[in-house]
C-alpha cells in the first residue's frame, strides 16, 4: 500500500509525540480495534443507574439491555420470538400464559435463574418500581412455578397486550436471592447491576465510560461474540460526530447524531446507517393542543391546524427525510394501524375556510388569532420545528407566540395542562393498549402526570372502543375495534400528528447484527460480532 508524503509526515509526527508521551502507538487510534472484540460506542446522556427494573431512562435501557434480559424478544413486526423463554402458550380464554425457560441460565454471580426469579420480578419488583410495567403486571392474579423452568401466569381478566410486554426494557428479570426482602431501590447490589444478560458490568467511571465484559456463563452457546462493550460518555454533539467519523466509536444510536449531520455521515464509506430497530418504541411526533381552552376546544380549529401544516416540507427540510408522515394516533409501525382514515393534506385554503366558519376573520395584518406556543426545550431540532410551525400557521392567520422554559419547567407545564400548544414525542410501546390509548382515553386525564391524556380529549365512543380493543382476545377483533377508533379520533383531531420520527443507528461496516429486533440497540447484543 502506498503512502504519500503528507501521510508519511503525519505518521512520523504522531509516532514521535506518542513515544514522548510513552504510550504505545496502537492506543492512539481507534481504541475499538485494539482487542478486536471490543465494541466502542456512546451513551448520551450518561445513565443515572443500570438496573432497568428500577430506572427506565433511555440511556439506562440502552446499556442495561445488555445486562438484563427478559422472557421474549420481538421481531420487526412485533411478533414474539424466544428470549429467556424457549416456548410459550396462551389459553383460549386469554387468561393463562405459560412460559418454558431455556435450561442453564445463570446470573452474573453464578447463581441459576429459575422460574422463581421470573415470578418474583413480575409480581414483586416491577409493580413497585416500573411505572410502565405497573399497569400490565398488576393484572396478574396468580403466578406459579410447576417446575424450575416453567412459569404460569393467570390474569384477572383477558389483556391481549400482555404477551407484548416481555422485552428486556419492560420486564427485566432480577435475581430474587439478591433483592428479596430488601428495599429494591436502595439495595447496594444496584451498583453491581447483576443480571443474566450476555454482558456484565466491569467498571463504571462516572462521567467517562461504562465498561461491560462478556458473561462467560451465558446460556446461548457461542454468545456473546464480542468480548466487551465500552460506552463512552460524550456530551457534545460535534464530538460525537467526530468520534464516529474517526472510527473511535463503532456505533451510535437514538439522538447521538444530530439530524443535520446524518446525511453527511451516511455517505462515509466506512459506515452503515439504518432507521430500523425502533419499531417497538415507534416515536410519534405531534403538535399537542390543549383541548380544554379556546380556540383549541373547537374541532374546526384543530382541523384547520392540520390542513395548515405542510408536513411533507417539515419532513424534508427539518428532519432531512428521517421519518414518515403520521396519519393518526397509531403509528404505521405499531400493530393495528389503520391507513383508511380522513386525510389532512396540506391545504391552507381549507384551513382558512374552517377558521372563517368559526368566525376568526383576518385583521388588517392578516392575523386572525394569537396562540401561546410552549417551545419544547429538547435541543436545536425542536426549536427548528417550532419555527417551522410558526411560519406554517402564520400563513393562515394563526400567530404563535413562543414561550420558553427548560426541560423540568416544560414537563411541569404540560403535565399540569398549563399550555396551549407544544410539541411532544411519545412512544407507542408495541401495542396501542399500552402506548397509544393513554393519550386519548378520558379515564387517563390525570393532572400532574406526564404521558397521560394531557390534551384533555374526551369522546365516550372512543373510550369504549379503546377499552374493548384492549381486552379482546383475537387479533381480528382488535383490528376491527382499533380501525374504528382511529377513524373517530382522526376526525376529532385532538392532537395534530406530525411525523413518525426515525432515529438513525450508525454502525461501522465491520460490525454486524446490531439491529435484529424491534427494540434495536436496546437488545442484548449477544449476537453482535465484528466481521
Amino acid at each position: 500500500m502506498g503512502m504519500n508524503r503528507r501521510e508519511f509526515g503525519k505518521l512520523g509526527l504522531t509516532a514521535a509525540m506518542a513515544s514522548v508521551a510513552g504510550i504505545p502507538l496502537g492506543l492512539q487510534r481507534a481504541a475499538g480495534q485494539t482487542r478486536g472484540g471490543t465494541l466502542n460506542t456512546i451513551t448520551h446522556p450518561e445513565p443515572a443507574m443500570l438496573v432497568t427494573a428500577i430506572s427506565q431512562l433511555q440511556p439506562t435501557l440502552t446499556v442495561g439491555g445488555k445486562i438484563y434480559e427478559s422472557l421474549l424478544r420481538y421481531d420487526f413486526d412485533l411478533k414474539p420470538i424466544p428470549g429467556l423463554a424457549q416456548s410459550w402458550s396462551v389459553s383460549p380464554d386469554g387468561l393463562t400464559y405459560t412460559f418454558k425457560l431455556f435450561p442453564n441460565i445463570t446470573f452474573h454471580d453464578g447463581k441459576p435463574l429459575t422460574a422463581d426469579d421470573v415470578i418474583f420480578s413480575m409480581t414483586k419488583v416491577l409493580p413497585e418500581t416500573h411505572a410502565r410495567a405497573r399497569p400490565i403486571f398488576t393484572r396478574i392474579e396468580s403466578a406459579e412455578a410447576p417446575d424450575p423452568l416453567t412459569v404460569v401466569f393467570k390474569l384477572k381478566s383477558p389483556f391481549s397486550p400482555f404477551l407484548g410486554a416481555f422485552d428486556c426494557t419492560t420486564a427485566p428479570i432480577v435475581p430474587k436471592h439478591i433483592y428479596e426482602g430488601t428495599d429494591f431501590k436502595t439495595n447496594p447490589a444496584n451498583d453491581k447491576a447483576i443480571g443474566c444478560g450476555p454482558f456484565k458490568l466491569k467498571e463504571w467511571v462516572r462521567g467517562s465510560h461504562i465498561h461491560l465484559v462478556k458473561h462467560e456463563g451465558y446460556y446461548r452457546a457461542g454468545e456473546p461474540h464480542i468480548d466487551e462493550i465500552i460506552y463512552r460518555v460524550i456530551p457534545d454533539a460535534a464530538a460525537r460526530s467526530v468520534a464516529l467519523e474517526q472510527g473511535t466509536v463503532k456505533l451510535t444510536q437514538w439522538s447521538d447524531i444530530e439530524q443535520y449531520d446524518v446525511a453527511r455521515l451516511a455517505k462515509l464509506p466506512h459506515l452503515d446507517m439504518t432507521t430500523k430497530g425502533y419499531e417497538y418504541f415507534a416515536p410519534h411526533l405531534w403538535l399537542e393542543l390543549n383541548n380544554r381552552i379556546a380556540p383549541m376546544n373547537d374541532k374546526r380549529f384543530r382541523q384547520a391546524v392540520m390542513y395548515a401544516i405542510d408536513r411533507n416540507a417539515l419532513l424534508k427540510r427539518v428532519y432531512f427525510g428521517l421519518g414518515k408522515i403520521a396519519t393518526g394516533p397509531i403509528s404505521s409501525k405499531t400493530r393495528f394501524y389503520e391507513k383508511n382514515v380522513k386525510q389532512y393534506e396540506h391545504s391552507p385554503d381549507k384551513a382558512k375556510a374552517l377558521l372563517d366558519e368559526m368566525g376568526l376573520k383576518p385583521g388588517a395584518d392578516g392575523k386572525r388569532i394569537t396562540v401561546p406556543f410552549l417551545v419544547t426545550p429538547s435541543g436545536e431540532l425542536y426549536r427548528r420545528v417550532a419555527e417551522f410551525l410558526r411560519q406554517s400557521l402564520l400563513r393562515v392567520g394563526i400567530d404563535l407566540q413562543f414561550e420558553g422554559t427548560d426541560v423540568a419547567g416544560w414537563i411541569q407545564k404540560v403535565s399540569n395542562w398549563e399550555y396551549s400548544m407544544t410539541t411532544n414525542l411519545v412512544y407507542q410501546l408495541g401495542d396501542p393498549a399500552v402506548g397509544v390509548s393513554r393519550s386519548y382515553i378520558s379515564s387517563n386525564i390525570r393532572k400532574g402526570i406526564m404521558f397521560s391524556n394531557t390534551a384533555g380529549y374526551s369522546n365516550p365512543e372512543a373510550d369504549r372502543l379503546f377499552e374493548e380493543a384492549a381486552t379482546a382476545t383475537s387479533d381480528e377483533k382488535r383490528q376491527e375495534l382499533y380501525s374504528a377508533v382511529q377513524k373517530i379520533v382522526v376526525e376529532d383531531v385532538p392532537i395534530a400528528w406530525l411525523l413518525e420520527q426515525d432515529f438513525p443507528t450508525f454502525t461501522d461496516k465491520k460490525l454486524k447484527n446490531v439491529t435484529t429486533t424491534a427494540i434495536g440497540v436496546h437488545e442484548t447484543f449477544g449476537a453482535v460480532r465484528f466481521e
Binding site: 433511555q58 462516572r206 466487551e228
Partner: protein, 340 residues
Amino acid sequence: MSVVAITRYGGRLSAYVLGIASGAVKIIGVILVIATFNFILVHAAPGDPAQVIAGQSGAADETLLRQVRSAYGLDQPYLVQLASSLKKTLTLDLGYSYRQQRTVLSLLLERLPATLLLTGTAFILSLVLGTALGTIAGTRAGKWSDTFFTIVSLLLYALPVFWLGLMLVLLFSVQLNWLPPFGYVTVGVEMTTWQRIADIAWHMVLPTLSLAAVYLAIYARLMRSSIIEVKQQDFIKTARAKGVTESRIVMHHLLRNAILPVITVAGMQAGGVVGGAVVVETVFAWPGLGRLIYDAVLQRDYPVMQGIFLVMSVVVIGLNLLTEAVYRMVDPRISVRSVT
C-alpha cells in the same frame, strides 16, 4: 522568658485564637446564608425531580411521583425541608441523590479530581504564561513584540471557549490525528502507572489549552497595563539612576509591584474557572464536576445541586482567603496597614 513576655505572648495568643474563632463563626454564618439562598433558588425553579424522572422515562403514574417526592422529602412542608437542609449542611451531610441512587458526597468525590486536575493545570498555565507574556509586552511597550502579544491576547479573549475547543479538535484530532479528541484516558487498555499518567496528560492537552486561553489573555492584558503603570513610578527611575541592571529592575522591582492586580483578579476568577470548565468538560467529554452541575440543574436533582453549590461556595471563600494571604506575602505593606 520573663513574666511580662509570657503575659504579652499569652495576650497575643488569645487575640489570635479569638481572631480565628470570630473568623470561623463568620465563615459558618456565610455558609449558612449561602445554603439558605441555594435552597430557595433551587426550589424556586419550575418543575421538580419527580416530574423530570417521569417525563424522561416515557411513562409515569401517581405512584412514581409519590415515591420520588417522598424520597426527596418534597412531601414535607417547605420550612421543614429548609430546616432539614440546613441541619444537613451543619453536619456536613450533603444528602442523597435519588435519581443516581448515590450520596452526593460520593458523586462529588468521583468527579472532583478530574476537575481539579484540569482547572488547576489550566489556571497555573494561564497565570504563568499570561504573566510572562504581559511582562514581555509591557516592558517592550510600543515595539512589534508588544503589538503581536496584544493582538494574540485580544484574539484569545474574544474566542468563545466552546468554539476554540471544537477548532482545536478539528485541527489536532481530525486533520492531524495527533491528539485524542475527547475523554481523559484510553479506555479498555492495560497500562503501567507511568503509561497511564502519560495517557492522561496526552488527553489533557486540548481541554487545558482551551480553558487556559481566555484566562491567559486576561492575565496578559492586565500584566501589560500594570507593568506600564509601575514603570512610570519614581522608585523605578531611582533604581535606574542608581545603575541597577534592567533585569534586576524587572525581577525585583517591576514584577513584584505589577503582579498585585493579577493576583487579585486571579483570586476572584479561580472559582470562575470551574464555571468555565462546564463548557470545556462538555466539549471534551471530561468527567469532571462541570458536567455533573449541568445535568443536575436540568434534572432538578436538588441534593446534587445544593451540594455542589455549597462546596463551590466554600472553595471560593477559601480561595479568597488564600488570595489575601498571598497578597500580604507579596506586599508586606498590606499586612502592616491591616495591623495599624
